[in-house]
């Protein structure tokens, strides 16, 4: 057993020991706020056990291990269904940016530690009503104001903004230059005067995303995380900071075994569903696709372990897996027939087909819509031409709205 295997085994043992306190059963039936509190306690437990900031600098409270160690822990954690979601954006995107770019290093250290312990949550304020996919199209204004800045505008789809203490934000400091060039990146106190958070209820009934309004919110120039006008580059860098994270070949939906069980216990027109060619084809195709995604991940991890750079194929997981999960969930509902009409609003998308189906469209949009991911593959990996961009090089305030 090599070091990584040993690390995985230890992680698994620790996670198992935490199941009674934090696992699926412990989470069942909790109110929203109780669930958040549980998530915070779980993050603290991870910190205490040395599973927070696994690949971060020890100077900032991290463990100083490799990204591979982090991915290994995440894989094991995902299998246990732990309440780690509140910290996905916070520790995956926002806090690393602060750690890297914040001007006041002592303050940054404090924040990072508080975030690792779970005491503070950070959100990422990127998307706006004018365009979820068009990051550089941000309209939220940052105007010079005395020695600092004044923020006005609105963000949208901000995950867990309602529970966040801080956020990182992309705002337009100059509308007279082309859109990529007039943006600046800041951090922000979510409890500051002028910040209003309004949760958005989604189709499946949950509300983890928010509208956030800014009304003359004051920022000091010390809150700036990028050069003035250089925010877009920093924002893109942000998205790459934690490029290695555990992926789920099931597309965050139910495992294939659950579908096989359903097929074993159902009939199609009087014959066992598991013997029906349509059902068999769905099982076989899903297995082939998911096992391919798993093999991609394993290969990437072996390359990382060997000090090599994994290939870009790791990026196709979400595109392929979530889209497939949507159709498999529909087929499962078909298979259940009239029984599939029932729905428990508290059921989890990881083990309930209706819940999985209802939430699947969100998965196909959040974190890069299918179409954007296809563009990324085509342009960045294959070198195909960019789409036509009438807004390219045009001063932002001259782009027709």
């Amino acid at each position: 057993m090599n070091d990584l295997d040993a690390y995985r085994a230890a992680a698994r043992d620790w996670l198992r020991s935490q199941l009674p306190a934090f696992g699926r059963e412990a989470q069942a039936g909790l109110s929203e706020l109780d669930h958040l509190a549980l998530g915070k306690r779980y993050q603290r437990a991870k910190f205490d056990a040395g599973y927070a900031g696994i690949n971060w600098d020890p100077e900032f409270g991290g463990q100083g291990l490799s990204p591979l160690h982090k991915v290994i822990f995440e894989q094991e954690e995902m299998a246990c269904g732990m309440p780690s979601g509140y910290y996905g954006v916070s520790l995956g995107i926002s806090v690393p940016v602060v750690m890297k770019f914040a001007q006041d290093r002592a303050w940054a250290k404090e924040r990072v530690l508080a975030a690792l312990k779970g005491d503070e949550i950070w959100c990422q304020l990127f998307s706006e009503p004018s365009g979820g996919s068009d990051l550089a199209g941000a309209r939220t204004k940052a105007e010079p104001d005395g020695n600092g800045w004044k923020l006005n505008g609105q963000k949208l789809w901000t995950t867990y903004a309602q529970f966040s203490d801080y956020g990182v934000i992309l705002a337009r400091n100059d509308p007279t230059v082309p859109k990529h060039k007039g943006l600046t990146f800041f951090w922000l106190d979510m409890h500051a005067p002028g910040v209003t958070v309004r949760p958005i209820k989604l189709a499946a009934g949950d509300n983890h995303v928010n509208e956030v309004f800014f009304d003359d919110v004051k920022l000091t120039d010390g809150q700036r995380l990028s050069p003035v006008g250089g925010g877009f580059g920093t924002a893109m860098a942000t998205l790459m900071i934690e490029r290695y994270s555990a992926s789920d070949p099931a597309g965050f939906g139910p495992a294939l075994d659950l579908f096989i069980d359903l097929a074993r216990n159902s009939e199609v027109n009087g014959r066992p569903a598991i013997e029906d060619g349509r059902i068999r084809s769905a099982i076989a195709r899903t297995y082939a696709m998911r096992s391919g995604l798993e093999a991609i991940t394993t290969r990437a991890m072996r390359m990382m372990a060997a000090g090599m750079e994994p290939g870009p194929e790791g990026s196709l997981n979400k595109l392929v897996s979530v889209r497939s999960r949507q159709k498999l969930s529909e087929l499962a509902i078909d298979l259940m027939g009239n029984v599939g009409l029932a729905w428990d609003v508290h059921a989890s998308g990881k083990d309930d087909w209706v819940a999985s189906w209802l939430a699947a469209p969100t998965g196909r949009i959040a974190g890069g819509a299918d179409e954007m991911l296809l563009n990324t593959i085509a342009e960045r990996i294959l070198g195909l031409p960019q789409d036509h961009r009438p807004d390219k090089g045009v001063p932002f305030n001259q782009i027709p709205a």
Binding site: I200, G205, Q326, G337, N338, L341, I365, A366, A369, P400
Partner: protein, 364 residues
């Protein structure tokens, strides 16, 4: 063969669309999703007032003497508006079975009330995941019904149910009043459909038809209901296609309307092909009511309409991005309805098999 709507039928189409446009409100429909056991009373009173409940029943029983074509036209408008109490389909199915059973007293008792919308009916065929099990588990004997029927549309509020059951070892259809029957409300992703698990426990009932005649009648009635539902699905799919088109023409990203991106544009064009194929099959099937090829025509309509609505729901939500998945945006009304209608009257697996039996049998 297919038909071209005549002037009267075109008038029904535009009038039903106009009235529903005026009366349906997304906020009211969204609220229904969170209230198990409620249904859209505004729609139902509109249907009664407009005579839609009477449309496809004979004049001598209080109906308007029209047929599946006209009922389909109204169902299409209903589908476009995600309106609709489930009685629209089940009243028609139950009434058709009563008429076909030839039991004059029952027809006299219920048909006029179904036609006027005063009474409502459920059709309880499915068991487990089987839309029409060859050997139903529900049993009729000595004037009484025993057994369970899960997730029956309309059943939570209906006055009567036509029940697919076993009688003396052979399939049969029976009529039961639901007043005293155990009805467990089903919390559903599409709550306005009034799903209930029915439990018959020595419920008094009347035998309508038994044996091979019952099988044939049940299949015919299910096909008729499937054609009504297919029209509803068609209406929903078409509405979504236009919603997607309008959004793609106005919403801008990267400096141009998103409809200028082929990934969006071609997807909407593909929806157009699905909608038009479904429409052609729906009109054709409705016009074949009572003919020997009706079952195949109904299956084709059902399969293409289910595909069109499911696909339109998936793609229109995707084209809308974030706004497509918000509660208030309301697109999920269509997404939910696409799935609930895909299950009611039997899933695609059932209709594929039925169609192949018809085709391969016929060609044998």
């Amino acid at each position: 063969m297919s038909i071209v709507y005549d002037e009267a039928q075109q008038a029904i189409a535009s009038e039903s669309r106009r009235i529903l446009d005026a009366r349906m409100e997304s906020a009211r429909l969204l609220a229904l999703l969170e209230r198990t056991g409620e249904f859209d009373r505004v729609f139902w009173s509109t249907a009664v007032e407009q005579g839609w409940t009477a449309l496809a029943f004979p004049e001598e029983h209080g109906g308007l003497g029209l047929g599946l074509v006209e009922l389909g036209i109204v169902a299409q408008a209903t589908g476009a508006a995600t309106a609709g109490a489930p009685f629209q389909t089940s009243n028609y199915g139950a009434g058709h079975i009563l008429l076909a059973s030839g039991q004059a007293d029952l027809v006299g008792q219920w048909l006029p009330r179904l036609a006027s919308g005063e009474a409502t009916a459920a059709v309880a065929f499915a068991e487990g995941n089987a839309p029409l099990p060859p050997r139903p588990g529900c049993a009729f004997a000595g004037g009484r019904l025993a057994g369970a029927k899960p997730g029956v549309a309309s059943a939570l509020a209906a006055d009567i149910a036509v029940v697919w059951c076993l009688h003396e070892g052979r399939p049969a259809l029976a009529l039961a009043e639901l007043a005293g029957v155990s009805r467990r409300a089903v919390d559903s992703f599409d709550n306005g459909r009034l799903y209930a698990d029915l439990g018959f426990d020595g419920t008094q009932a009347r035998l309508l038809v038994a044996g091979e005649a019952a099988s044939e009648l049940a299949r015919d009635a299910l096909a008729r209901m499937a054609v009504v539902t297919a029209h509803e699905q068609l209406g929903g799919a078409e509405a979504l296609m236009f919603i997607a088109r309008d959004y793609a023409n106005t919403r801008r990203a990267f400096g141009q309307p998103i409809g200028a991106f082929q990934s969006v544009k071609h997807r909407i064009a593909e929806l157009y092909t699905l909608v038009e194929i479904a429409r052609a099959n729906c009109i054709h099937a409705a016009s074949r009511e009572g003919r020997p090829d009706f079952l195949s025509a109904a299956a084709a309509a059902r399969l293409s309409a289910t595909e069109a609505y499911d696909t339109a729901a998936r793609d229109t939500v995707q084209i809308h991005g974030g706004i497509g998945v918000t509660w208030e945006g309301g697109l999920h009304l269509h997404m939910r309805r696409a799935r609930s209608l895909a299950i009611e009257q039997g899933n695609a697996l059932f209709w594929e098999d039925l169609l192949v039996d018809e085709l391969a049998g016929a060609a044998a």
